[in-house]
């Protein structure tokens, strides 16, 4: 099975080798097969090894074993050498001289990976003091210098802050600083960007690439994202079910994958958008399926004992979606995408603005009529498991909408419809009696889709339906969604932080930034010639699985943590914008048409739009 060549045959390379893993096996008692099954890998100084595979492939375990950090009860065999030293079987005490000093680690979730009750400064100075023997003050000085190197905007302040007071991107930077505190020879980054936004992902990856270059350390980048690997890694190993099935220089593997599995993963990651499936166009003059005008949503929070304040999560959003059309909504985390879907479906209260469903204003309808209209407006959720009631079986879950909205059906008729729908979304009969927690993420999402589509709705709203799934499941679900919505002629409102994904599914895309619309237009045009600086930033941040292009694109990413404005007076984007001028701080840019169905909110877009639109 293993197509790996033993590397490091000549003496010079042997000396360069930092980490050598040979025939590593990790097994949990009671489990059927080994979680890591005979893995051999090596990392050299100044080199980045990318390790790619689906969740559960054993990527993390392989490298945790190298640090003696495996969960209790795991049985390990094989050889793991750090330089000339064998690591497996070392005492805890000997391991502590390696961990943090010679090998640094960054874990996936920066929120839960930092000790909540200690300040960033304390957590950063701790390993420095321990491993380098520096005094308290010297250690803290070095800690602060490190925070500056990872581009935290206000390092002195961050030293005194607790993890929960930092944003996700800032926390991940702090994690990197801690891992690099003692200038380790080897850095293991375990899914360092998975929990982050596209733009932040690009920044963190660029930062890692920079450190690798400057410090000539070895870097292991564990990820499921080929784009990340293409930009940073020199060599690549693909893992599946506890084994390395393919490895080699990154360009070679990405361009000429040997294994069918690698090809499948790559296809799922880098597929060019297919031609949009033909949709049943709505009759002219028919009311749009959904129209939203001037929508504003505020959230209230307690500021002190008695005071309550509110802030705008969504402001002046206007859109129309005709029958059979598809619209994508993109933007970074917290920009109000979810809020928009909930307010459009009247699941949360809007402060201002009007929503029309199929031409009717629900604000003027009775609660009963509203509930009846809801059968035509269905929602698919981000968290496939969380959106299914844990105590109901798959069959019960899918039949509930029928029980509510078509109570005239007999039990047999209902069962027939449910089974037909379940078969349509590709679920086998063996699964019908299971509960949600007995299904995989992809299967859960299929149930969610069946539940939404069984009433043949006119509008399907999808809130990041793919972001919790692995690459292959993402592709399958994406295709299923496209097919089904086209088949039933449903309009599609598709929310995602991933611009590339929206391109697959939607004719038009709307970009949101901090609750405001910044750009709207046909997806292809938007991609080819973004008019708003923020849209451009989003597109540049997309990680392409192309080893020729991606390193250069990554090198262009600006590293600094974007500072957010508390109360944006003018253009909300101006603190991050390279084109900002005095006007931008004074007036909110108007929402104007740029022709060809494109709209944008930027004072200066015409400066570059003309050459772009013509050229």
């Amino acid at each position: 099975m293993s197509s790996i060549q033993p590397d490091g045959e000549c003496g010079a390379e042997q000396r360069e080798r930092l980490l050598g893993i040979e025939e590593l096996r990790v097994r949990f008692p009671g489990a059927g097969r080994a979680a890591v099954d005979g893995v051999s890998l090596s990392v050299r100084r100044g080199e980045c090894l990318g390790v790619v595979g689906e969740s559960g492939a054993g990527k993390s375990l392989t490298f945790l074993a190298a640090l003696g950090l495996l969960p209790e009860g795991a049985e390990v065999s094989g050889r793991v050498r750090l330089g000339p030293q064998e690591v497996l079987g070392l005492s805890e005490r000997a391991l502590d001289r390696i961990r943090g000093r010679r090998v640094g680690v960054i874990f996936q979730d920066p929120m839960s990976s930092l000790t909540p009750h200690l300040t960033i400064g304390a957590q950063l100075a701790e390993p420095i003091a321990r491993h380098s023997g520096l005094g308290r003050r010297a250690a803290r000085a070095r800690a602060q210098a490190l925070l500056e190197r990872v581009q935290l905007p206000d390092a002195a302040r961050s030293m005194r802050q607790y993890p929960h007071e930092l944003s996700g991107g800032m926390r991940q930077r702090a994690m990197i600083a801690i891992a690099l505190a003692c200038e380790p020879e080897l850095l293991i980054a375990d899914e360092p960007t998975t929990a982050l936004d596209v733009t932040l992902q690009a920044q963190i990856l660029a930062l890692l690439a920079q450190f690798k270059r400057e410090q000539r350390m070895g870097l292991v980048l564990i990820t499921h994202d080929f784009g990340a690997v293409a930009g940073v890694a020199d060599r690549l190993a693909v893992m599946r079910a506890g084994e390395v099935i393919e490895s080699g220089p990154v360009a070679a593997v990405l361009k000429h994958p040997g294994e069918p599995y690698t090809r499948e993963l790559l296809r799922a990651a880098g597929e060019p958008p297919a031609a949009q499936p033909p949709r049943a166009a709505g009759a002219d003059g028919a009311a749009p399926v959904l129209s939203v005008e001037g929508l504003e949503v505020r959230f209230r929070y307690a500021a002190g004992l008695f005071r309550r304040r509110s802030w705008r999560a969504l402001e002046a959003v206007t859109l129309t979606l005709g029958a059979g059309q598809s619209l994508g909504v993109v933007g970074e985390s917290g920009c109000g995408k979810t809020t928009l879907t909930r307010a459009a479906l009247r699941l949360i209260r809007a402060e201002r603005g009007q929503v029309l469903w199929l031409g009717q204003n629900p604000a003027q309808l009775s609660a009963r009529r509203i509930r009846r209209l809801r059968r035509d407006l269905q929602l698919i959720f981000q968290d496939p498991l969380g959106s299914l009631d844990p105590h109901l079986s798959v069959e019960q879950l899918v039949s509930e909408p029928l029980e509510i909205h078509q109570s005239g059906l007999s039990a047999a008729q209902r069962r027939e419809r449910v089974h037909a729908m379940l078969a349509r979304v590709g679920l086998e009969a063996a699964l019908y009696a299971r509960r949600a927690h007995e299904l995989s993420g992809g299967q859960c999402q299929r149930v969610g889709i069946a539940r939404a589509m069984i009433l043949a709705p006119r509008l399907l709203v999808c809130d990041e339906p793919l972001s919790a799934l692995d690459v292959r499941a993402q592709r399958q679900i994406r295709l299923l969604l496209a097919e089904l919505s086209a088949e039933q002629g449903a309009s599609l409102l598709f929310v995602s932080h991933d611009l590339a994904l929206v391109r697959h599914l939607c004719e038009r895309a709307l970009v949101l930034y901090l609750g405001r619309m910044v750009e709207l237009g046909p997806t292809d045009a938007l991609f080819a010639r973004p008019l708003h600086p923020y849209t451009r930033e989003l597109i540049e941040a997309i990680a392409l699985p192309d080893p020729d292009l991606q390193p250069a694109r990554l090198a262009k990413v600006r590293l600094g943590e974007p500072r957010r404005l508390e109360q944006p007076g003018g253009c909300a984007f101006r603190m991050r914008c390279a084109h900002a001028t005095a006007v931008c701080a004074e007036r909110i840019p108007p929402w104007v048409s740029a022709g060809q169905g494109r709209w944008v909110a930027c004072h200066h877009f015409s400066d570059w739009a003309d050459d772009m639109l013509s050229g």
Binding site: E92, D96, R99, G100, S113, P127
Partner: protein, 309 residues
């Protein structure tokens, strides 16, 4: 942090006032009165006494009087034990009760926390398994069962310790009662400590700390113990409530001259001022214990301080 503490302390006063008010009127609602039950007093003497203590005046006026006296630190005379003031009775009983409660608390914390830590670190070891049995047993047993059983075993059969009674100069008298009171508390604390430490040790920030090569001891002391103590500290409030009611039983079982007996007897005798005094003392105690628990919690976990009340 200081602001948080002040706000919480200010919050106690109204609660205490409500408690006192409700108690005041509820006690008066009960049939009978201090001079009506049991004793055959001539009607004239009774009226005389009631006039003397102001019991014939409207209830609201009496309530006002009581609060006014209370503001001056005066808890009033006892109705059932003539020539005694409530403050005097409490002053004579409280040292015993307080010594008992504090000894039990100290015993429970000092045994429970290390036991729980040890059981978590050696999961499934001998100590861990015995802890499970010990906890199941002591938690199921109310102190009015363990008390007599312990007295039977250690006092009568083994003759190691005094069974009952109280000489102010021999702390040995306090051992059995304090152990009786501490047993279930110690078991709860050990169980809480074990569970929360296990959870914390599984958290990914502990893995991160280990990955920095900080060493076992430092990871445990600096990164794991503080968050693991949070549930134990939160339990301090319920523990205080338990101690208050538990001491009542233990004092009865071991015939200790604490304040516990005043409450039941006072209520049966309709000794209004005495019951109010007890409500005040024990109410303040439990409220303060809850407050202390919250403050320590806020100190342990910086995230709490920012939460709106």
């Amino acid at each position: 942090m200081l602001g948080y503490a002040l706000r919480r302390i200010a919050g106690i006063v109204p609660v205490l006032l409500i408690l006192l008010t409700v108690s005041f009127f509820v006690i008066r609602l009960a049939p009978g009165g201090p001079f009506a039950s049991g004793r055959a007093l001539p009607a004239r003497t009774r009226a005389e006494l009631e006039r003397l203590y102001g019991l014939n005046r409207p209830l609201l006026v009496q309530y006002g009087d009581y609060l006014r006296a209370l503001a001056h630190g005066n808890l009033g005379p006892s109705y059932s034990m003539r020539d005694e003031t409530v403050a005097g009775l409490i002053a004579s009983g409280l040292p015993v009760s307080a010594a008992l409660g504090l000894a039990a608390l100290a015993l429970a914390v000092l045994s429970g926390v290390p036991l729980g830590v040890r059981a978590a670190l050696r999961r499934d070891g001998a100590l861990d398994r015995s802890l499970a049995v010990f906890a199941a047993l002591t938690l199921a047993l109310p102190s009015f069962v363990t008390g007599p059983l312990l007295a039977l075993a250690f006092g009568l059969w083994l003759r190691w310790l005094p069974v009952a009674g109280w000489q102010p100069d021999t702390p040995r008298d306090l051992i059995l009662p304090a152990v009786t009171l501490a047993l279930p508390l110690s078991a709860s604390i050990a169980r809480l400590m074990r569970a929360s430490l296990l959870e914390v040790l599984g958290a990914s920030y502990i893995r991160t700390a280990r990955a920095r090569g900080l060493g076992r001891a430092r990871v445990l002391w600096r990164h794991a113990l503080r968050p693991a103590l949070v549930p134990v500290v939160s339990y301090l409030g319920p523990a205080a409530t338990y101690l208050v009611t538990g001491s009542l039983v233990v004092e009865t079982v071991f015939e200790l001259p604490g304040t516990g007996r005043y409450l039941v007897q006072g209520a049966i005798d309709r000794d209004y001022t005495l019951v109010m005094g007890m409500v005040l003392v024990y109410g303040t105690l439990t409220l303060l214990a809850n407050l202390a628990a919250d403050l320590i919690h806020a100190w342990l976990d910086p995230r709490v301080r920012h939460e709106p009340l």
